[in-house]
Amino acid sequence: MTVKVHLWSGLRALTGGQAVVEVEATTIGGMLRELVRLYPALQEPIDAGVSVSVDGRIMASDLTAPVAAENEIYLMQRLRGG
Amino acid sequence: MSKLHVSTTVNGDSVEFLCDPRETLLDCLRDKLNLTGAKEGCGTGDCGACSVTVDGRLVCSCLMLGVEADGKDIATVEGMAEGEELHPLQKKFIEYAALQCGICTPGVLVAAKALLEKNPNPTEEEARYWLAGNLCRCTGYDKIIRAVMDTAADMREAS
């Protein structure tokens, strides 16, 4: 299904200015793969580490978590604690 | 340089060891007598994690040489409990959650015991200043001070 992914403003340079990108995916892993397929320049930031916020819940790393069209999805820099 | 022979009493037991004259009492307690309760937090007498008493006086064992222990009477945290029976301070610290990581706890307990032996009725300010030589990074000292004050009250009542 088509999900909308919001990108932080620093990433827009890599997507030709797009702040929100639509991809076909049912899981976070699938979504990240599709993002890179559409915008290969996103490979580096995604490899560097991203967390994904799904409806306000922050997924630090779970690629198997489901995503759906009605979710609010934000790509965020990988969170690190102390 | 050859080692020197030291005979001393620790927690009531007669002990002997050989040490390099440069080794501190802390090094000797830990490495030669296996009494690892006293900790090295700084090596410069600023943190109190190595606190012991020597002839009843509270000292930083990192500031004393092992050879100076000869003939002295040393008390460490390992000697605070009597068999199974914990010292009231030890019991209170557990009850009040007055420790988090526990690294400063032996030093704080030895120092607090020395305080209460000298002054069984300290004010909060007196307790804080007495314990100012024992650094704790985890607790903010709140529960430690409460534990010391309430133990002092319990001990006064019991006597």
């Binding site: 620093g10 969170l79 604690g81 | 937090g41 914990l86």
Partner: protein
């Protein structure tokens, strides 16, 4: 992740039993990093650069190697050459290796350049003097803004990643930008716009236990490592990579840990001890001195920040903008991105923009310190908010309530907030007697909010039942704050057996599945969630045994108060079957009963706090006394309230030190001037008042019992709350931390002309 029904009525959770490791810790029996000894053990010592920046021309260790007490000497050549350099954080193993043992350059005062293993600690120390190193001293830079300037010495070429815009100095290695709305339009709408700049200096986590380890590595690639660490699986994989051995062949055991706060989430001396051990074919113990800890472990970043906030007369924030520059030592990793994302997070803003820079300088490699990056941003932002309130004549709590983020607000970093507890903490603050208490002349009051993300992370937990009905719980997260007690409470809440009948062990890397570090306020949340699930897994099996014994279907059995019972009157008339009765013959009814859970739980809830501080400034000495302190923070659900209070108090105390006294002081020569506790002054018992706490509970939907992490948020508000209190007490805005007596006196003097 499908969630269980969230529990809200508890039998054990929320009580305050004694912690299981209490006896060991009050008797000196507990074994910390330096408390291990092995037969044939050698002592390691590390030679460190006295220069802030220098090319290493030559290392001649021949005299040391010839000494009869020295059994091994190592340099960078003794580590793996397969670890690849990559820009930014992608090549973190390389960054760690370069930090653990210098390559071509010494990058900071204290950087390790060589190490020896000798037959005693004193012999090792003496042997270091026999190693001759030839340095070519290079220009250095330690200040973050200077490190970004065009003429700054280059720390390393090619370390900048994709995010850094064109034209910036090579020392700028990562860049973050985020936000939404139109800040310029927002500023235009404001009745008052304040723009100001702030700095914070690097501080150290200040754990009382220096790093220590005992390592044993054979030529066959099999090794054992004992170390004080917040994460032994991370230590395992990092050491394996640096030593060029297979991860599974290195068994790492976590000792008790004497404080970490983020600073022990990585390795410094452990790979060195392993390399020495391999070369000497004997166990090697290394214990850092306090001075080494300050010079060569992982302090926080220092920060230079510009904030601009616009506010209407009625207190509505119309726009907010923050530029945050952080240096993280001679490596990428300064959490400028976290600072940026957290700075405005407590507020519901239509127009917000934040930029974060990660800059390199000739300083040690930074490590996490409780909510890394967040305290600096909060200091700057909350100071400007306070100033706006002062100038507009508005109450600081009311303004925060007016603008507070709530369920459904768009966070400054993008997503919509789920259920959050900020407003509740503000309301508690407003109602708290502290807020209404009168102030004496010379005293000032400050408040601040704070935010932190909290973390999930890879977690494995196993629970094994014994034949006598007691239980053993194996967790993988070192106990840094009393978590064994919380794990036990959660397990017995599920199992229904007494708290005393469970033993919690922190397993080693060979006896449990992978676990992420004890950091990110994740232990009670993630290990706790895993404990609950592992216990439920065991309970399922117990019910199966009862069902089989009774000859009824398994879904006709439920678990209540430690017993299997028929789930309803139709299920059959059987007496409750206690756990111990089932385990007594479990070997014969299907085998030993254990529960497991391995997953990366997501759904750690964010947490907010509000702090109220009263401070008194002595105008003659510039000394600040904190006269009253109240922490109000959302814990979701407090499993063991005494340890939650402890986290609140500890975070506040560290914040007080950071705000008033603690800083890394570098000389003109780039060397650290204050590397002992006498000169790096952390709060002592006589500096602090009692620290009052209020635990707010807005349950986190992502945890079966509602837990939110609590360990880190507590350090986010204090810097600003204290700065606001001091600024109000002294009558002058303090913009640079720490607000040490000389700085306050200088500010008073400048104000009075």
């Amino acid at each position: 992740m499908a969630l269980d029904d969230q529990k809200s009525v508890f039998k054990f959770v929320g009580t305050r039993p004694d912690r299981p490791d209490g006896l060991d810790k009050v008797t000196g029996r507990a074994k910390f990093g330096a408390d291990a000894y092995a037969a044939g053990m050698l002592h390691g010592a590390i030679l460190r650069s006295p220069h802030a920046h220098a090319r290493i021309v030559k290392i001649d260790a021949s005299k040391a190697e010839a000494h009869r007490d020295v059994k091994a000497v190592v340099t960078r050549a003794d580590f793996s050459d397969k670890v690849e350099f990559k820009p930014g954080l992608a090549g973190e193993f390389w960054n760690v290796l370069e930090n653990v043992m210098a390559g071509e350059k010494a990058l900071y005062d204290g950087h390790a350049v060589a190490a020896v293993a000798a037959t005693s600690a004193l012999a090792a120390r003496d042997a270091l003097k026999l190693i001759e190193v030839e340095y070519e001293v290079l220009p250095h830079v330690t200040d973050v803004d200077k490190a970004m300037a065009a003429d700054a010495p280059v720390i390393r070429e090619g370390a900048a990643d994709y995010s850094v815009p064109e034209g910036l100095h090579p020392n700028v290695v990562r860049y973050h930008e985020s936000g939404h709305g139109d800040v310029e339009a927002g500023f235009a709408e404001a009745d008052l716009v304040i723009e100001d700049s702030f700095t914070t200096e690097a501080t150290h986590q200040g754990y009382i236990e220096p790093h220590a380890c005992l390592a044993s590595l054979g030529g066959d690639g099999k090794g054992e490592l004992w170390c004080c660490t917040q994460g032994h699986w991370i230590a395992q994989k990092t050491c394996a990579a640096l030593l060029g051995i297979e991860t599974a062949q290195l068994r790492v055991t976590a000792s008790e840990i004497g404080g970490g706060f983020g600073g022990k989430t990585t390795v410094f001396i452990e790979p060195v001890a392993l390399a020495l051990s391999r070369k000497a074919n004997r166990p090697v113990k290394i214990v850092m001195s306090r001075s080494e800890v300050f010079r060569a472990t992982g302090p926080t970043s220092s920060a230079s920040m510009d904030i601009k906030i616009g506010m209407k007369k009625d207190g509505t924030i119309t726009a907010a903008e923050g530029i945050f520059r952080l240096q993280g030592g001679a490596f990428p990793g300064a959490p400028g991105d976290m600072t940026a994302m957290c700075a405005f997070a407590p507020y519901d803003l239509s127009n917000v923009r934040q930029v974060g820079y990660d800059v390199m300088a000739n300083r040690p490699k930074q490590a996490a310190y409780r909510a890394p990056g967040a305290p600096m941003g909060a200091f700057a932002v909350e100071s400007v908010l306070d100033e706006l309130c002062n100038q507009l004549g508005l109450d600081p709590l009311d303004v925060r309530l007016k603008n507070a983020a709530h369920d459904g607000s768009k966070a400054s970093y993008g997503p919509t907030y789920d259920q959050i507890g900020l407003v509740k903490t503000l309301e508690e603050a407003k109602a708290h007697p502290h807020y209404a208490a009168p102030l004496k002349p010379g005293q000032g009051r400050g408040i601040s909010c704070g935010f932190w993300f909290n973390h999930g992370g890879e977690t494995s937990v196993s629970l094994a039942l014994s034949e006598d009905g007691s239980a053993q719980l194996m967790v993988g997260t070192p106990d840094i704050g009393g978590s064994r007690a919380s794990m036990a409470l959660m397990a017995v809440e599920v199992l229904g057996i007494p708290y005393e009948n469970i033993r919690v062990t922190v397993a080693d890397t060979a006896t449990l599945g992978y676990n992420d570090v004890s950091h990110g306020s994740r232990v009670t949340y993630a290990s706790g969630l895993a404990t609950i699930k592992a216990a439920k897994h065991a309970v399922e099996k117990l019910c199966e045994r009862a069902a089989a014994k009774w000859g009824i279907p398994v879904d006709a059995v439920k678990w209540e108060d430690g017993c299997a019972v028929p789930s309803g009157p139709n299920a059959g008339d059987f007496d409750p079957l206690p756990l111990a009765d089932i385990t007594a013959n479990m070997g014969a009814t299907g085998g030993p009963i254990s529960g497991h859970f391995e997953a990366t739980p997501e759904g750690a809830g964010v947490s907010f706090g509000t702090h109220i501080v009263d401070a008194e400034v002595d105008p003659e000495t510039g000394k600040t006394a904190i006269t009253r302190y109240t922490v109000i923070q959302d814990a979701g659900k407090a499993i063991h309230p005494a340890y939650v209070e402890g986290q609140y108090q500890g975070g506040a105390a560290q914040g007080i030190g950071w705000a008033l006294n603690e800083e890394y002081i570098y000389g003109e020569d780039g060397r650290l001037q204050n590397s002992i506790f006498l000169d790096y002054r952390i709060p002592v018992a006589s500096d602090l008042p009692m620290i009052d706490t209020v635990i707010v509970e807005v349950p986190n939907p992502g945890h079966p019992f509602g837990v939110r992490g609590v360990g880190e948020t507590g350090i986010v508000p204090p810097l600003a709350a204290i700065a606001n209190a001091v600024s109000n007490a002294a009558g002058v805005r303090m913009r640079d931390l720490p607000m040490s007596p000389p700085r306050i006196l200088a500010a008073l003097k400048a104000r009075d002309g």
